[in-house]
Amino acid sequence: MTTTPEAVRRASPRTRRPATPATPAVPDPSAGLLPRTEPVRLLNPDGTPLPARDDYPEPPVEALREMYRRMVVGRRFDVQATALTKQGRLAVYPSSRGQEACQVGGVLALRDTDWVFPTYRESMALTARGIDPVEVLTLLRGDWHCGYDPTVVLTAPQCTPLATQCVHAAGLAYGESYQGRDTVALAFIGDGATSEGDFHEGVNFAAVFKAPVVYFVQNNKYAISVPLSRQTAAPSLAYKGVGYGVPSEQVDGNDPVAVLAVLNRAVAHARAGKGPYLVEAHTYRMEPHTNADDQTRYRDAEEVEAWRDRDPIARLEAYLRNRGALDDAAVAAIAEEAEAYAAALRDRMNAQPEVDPLSLFDHVYAEPTPQLVEQRDQVRAELAAARVEEGDA
């Protein structure tokens, strides 16, 4: 004889018990922490607006126009950087094409006094923050590891070890609030890096210490070649916040208006002293991992093509045109600005950077150790000998 679950329920004494008075509802402790079940979206892919919503008010149109401008310039920068790899001017370049809404939104939501913790894929975000593009590309050109002064531009060096910056952001943000400043730290992170321990430790530390951090996950679907399905079994990456008591949201990362609206709310939450916030943006890496990658080994061209219809720049442009905030002349002027930006970058990157072997010893410690002084003297002697040989030749 087989017993169906239905039969068990029918036979269960529970079902025969008289109805008991309803117990007072226990408030759901995860309320306010879980993301919306669908990514927040304010524009359709064709740029037509969706109904306005109270939870995520649309940013002012001037901010959206500025976002459009920086996205156009940012994409042109990205194309130029990839071209520079082909000319041998950059050792490597990880493109963020297709992620312009996230790259620009992530910095536009911040004040100049806030801190950014970027990864190697955030070159566009850093130029959008106003950092000199040559200084941004120093790492990838290879004349030093970090070309800008983090204490001036309030931007940490681009982080290559995955997710380690998540903990730095927690510490910086806590340290700032400890010293009475209302700084917010925004940490960029990719989908693959959410599997790293430091992501979890960073979010947890930020939550425990109520540090004003926004963790901004750009889920671009690939960690080099490994798809998201190999990173997580979670419904989406935004669901990782609830386990740490961190409110979280997911957003259509190719909808610039929604990205900025969600980040504005996350930053305001952090600045108000309510602790960290986790935002996951669903986007797509249109290019290979870097110029050195072969994406034909792990994804189809059709998959990439399908995302072209969700292009964030075209989407915002259509919306702003419909609102009368952008016309042909403005679009042309911004395109011209982007071309000039790229041309200036190309010219400056064509100059061979000066490197000084003796500078290798300058910043290992505040003062070089006696051993480093010895090694510096040795290198200096080698260089002098080489010059003499060149002179003889």
Partner: protein, 334 residues
């Protein structure tokens, strides 16, 4: 002068540093109310409040990474790794960020963090509680690596570490925590990079650091019965290393044994031996020898005394320093 333990001296150094500089914050696992499992932070939270001395989640990479961020905001974090082997999860933060941030940013950003690591064995600890991990840090450019062997040095070197502009891995020999000595605090601050001659001698130099220093001193005392007058040099700061003091001693005595508790292969002792023979070759009457832990994972407590450098093992090694100018027969091909 008062009698006090190294643990008390370290505690006093932390308290005095917190008093002198309000940017100093102390945190880690169990360092708050409990005062740390070794009580090195005892009373700091009660005295300075839970903003200056606080417990963290149990996550070592998190602790060190958090310290990086705090240092970037202008604070002077002093963090405790509860035990040597528990610090390994933090290694990426230490090697890739703590050690390199100054260099990566051409000096624009420095992270003057002190990472306190209770280390080494001889305390009957179970596995993962007795590692000598100093070589990992000493092999990482950008870190200073310091280990006191006396009560006064514990105080003065920790004060110096907290004031130092560079990140310091401060290795505390657990087995010396609760040994007492006459000490006067605050002891004079010792600049880094200066080894010290703990015992003057003429016949051979024993070079040691941290937990191996008392072994070296005891061996030198015992060697008098054998007719050897041994000098003992305490390295104190592994990085920066004091070649001058070490070299002067070995040039004087002409013989040298390097003693460390850590396993020997590719260790700090190997580096010291290489530096000594490079710099003292013409003064040496015998090869530089080493006494170290065995090249094994740290043993279970009932076997640790076979592993640890002992006075007898040091004396046996001193005996092989070619006193009769004959080559060590072990190294002569048959």
């Amino acid at each position: 002068m008062a009698t006090m333990t190294m643990a008390k001296a370290l505690n006093a150094a932390l308290a005095d540093a917190m008093l002198d500089d309000e940017r100093v914050v102390v945190f880690g696992e169990d360092v708050g109310q409990l005062g740390g499992v070794f009580r090195i932070t005892d009373g700091l939270q009660a005295r300075f409040g839970d903003k200056r001395c606080f417990d963290t989640p149990l996550a070592e990479a998190g602790i060190v990474g958090f310290a990086v961020g705090l240092a970037m905001s202008g604070l002077r974090p002093v963090v405790e790794m509860q035990f040597d082997a528990f610090a390994y999860p933090a290694f990426e933060q230490i090697a890739s960020h703590v050690a390199k941030l100054r260099n990566r940013t051409r000096g624009a950003l420095s992270v003057p963090i002190v990472i306190r690591v209770p280390y080494a064995g001889g305390i009957g600890g179970v596995e993962h509680h007795c590692d000598s991990s100093e070589a990992y840090y000493a092999h990482t450019p950008g870190l200073k690596v310091v280990t006191p062997a006396t009560v006064e040095d514990a105080y003065s070197l920790l004060r110096e570490a907290i004031d130092d502009p560079d990140p310091v891995v401060f290795m505390e020999p657990k087995k010396l925590y609760f040994g007492s000595a006459e000490a006067e605090l605050p002891a004079r601050k010792e600049p880094f990079g200066r080894a010290v001659v703990r015992r003057a001698g003429t016949d051979a130099t024993l070079i040691a650091y941290g937990p191996a220093v008392p072994v070296a001193l005891e061996a030198a005392e015992a060697a008098r019965e054998e007719g050897w007058d041994l000098e003992v040099v305490d390295v104190r700061t592994i990085v920066p290393f004091d070649d001058a003091t070490v070299t002067a001693s070995v040039r004087k005595t002409g013989r040298c044994v390097v003693i460390q508790e850590a396993q020997g292969f590719a260790g700090v002792g190997a580096e010291i031996a290489a530096r000594v023979q490079e710099r003292c070759f013409h003064a040496l009457h015998a090869p530089v020898l080493r006494v170290s832990g065995l090249d094994i994972p740290y043993p279970a407590p009932m076997l640790e005394h076979t592993h640890l450098p002992s006075v007898d093992r040091v004396l046996d090694t001193v005996a092989r320093l070619q006193w009769d100018d004959q080559p060590d027969e072990r190294w002569v091909a048959a």
